[in-house]
Symmetry: C2
Subunit: 132 residues, 2 copies
DNA sequence: ATATCTGTTATACAACAAATATAACAGTTG
DNA sequence: CAACTGTTATATTTGTTGTATAACAGATAT
């Protein structure tokens, strides 16, 4: 999977990494059971420090997306993804409400917003588009 | 309008302030032309520093949600809200994609996600529920 | 067994962001 | 003139982000 980082972004690198790995899983470019690069090799590939990758991996492990087998490597959770927990629902609401509120302010009607969400949903689930 | 801050949150206070003001406008609890408290009085009310409120106001001004009249006060933009600019669309995509990708990972199907977005949309547009 | 690969931990450092604390300035309004 | 606006400046504290090294401990391949 190709990782694209924007070093100019105000989004932390470890967050960009987490987001791209999660989208990779959502788009089935990364399948459960599939191994991810080691912290050192990924860090080297994308030109960041080992600890930055390790932070992303550790947080993804805490949320249940990946498993880390000591001395063996990092693998997309073969037991499946975490489900819709109450904690997750609260986090999702905290993320969605501000986005929806701003859309409303700017005059976006409900149908248009739903159309946009749907198109992103389709776009993610219809990857892989690895080759361009 | 009632402002609720979570001092334990990892979301910066000035961001929480911006979000709540934007949701206040979206829900029509704050109407265009309506005056907001001065930086000093709001800061005093919610128990934060003057500069924290000023940062939120300044950013809201930059995005076009409010106007700041020197020596007169802060007012919800009476010329209307900013529209759907390309910059905004990019920001919105950057905010939405990670949320949608995680929802997909966790097994939320498209209909359920759309239902959630719709319910938040309705919830925001059907405030004010000031009295509980 | 020895070298090499894992993740893990620890420490130190630089740069930056967030928030506070004071203070002062410059216009507006009562 | 006093009191209120937003604005600007400076300083300090605290926490986050990211880098840099280094070492540890277990697994694996030669």
């Amino acid at each position: 999977m190709i990782i694209r980082l924007d070093m100019q972004s105000d989004v932390p690198i470890y967050t960009q990494l987490m987001n791209q790995i999660i989208e990779g899983i959502a788009s089935k470019q990364l399948a459960p059971g599939e191994y991810l690069p080691s912290v050192r090799s990924l860090a080297s590939d994308i030109g960041v420090n080992l600890h930055t990758v390790n932070k992303a991996y550790t947080l993804l492990k805490q949320e249940g997306f990946i498993q880390i087998h000591r001395q063996k490597g990092v693998v997309v959770n073969p037991d499946g993804m975490p489900g819709i927990t109450p904690d997750y629902q609260h986090k999702q609401e905290a993320q969605l409400r501000p986005v929806i509120a701003e859309a409303i302010c700017r005059g976006m009607d409900k149908a248009e917003l739903l159309r946009i969400v749907e198109s992103f949903y389709d776009d993610i689930t219809q990857e892989p588009k690895e080759n361009a």
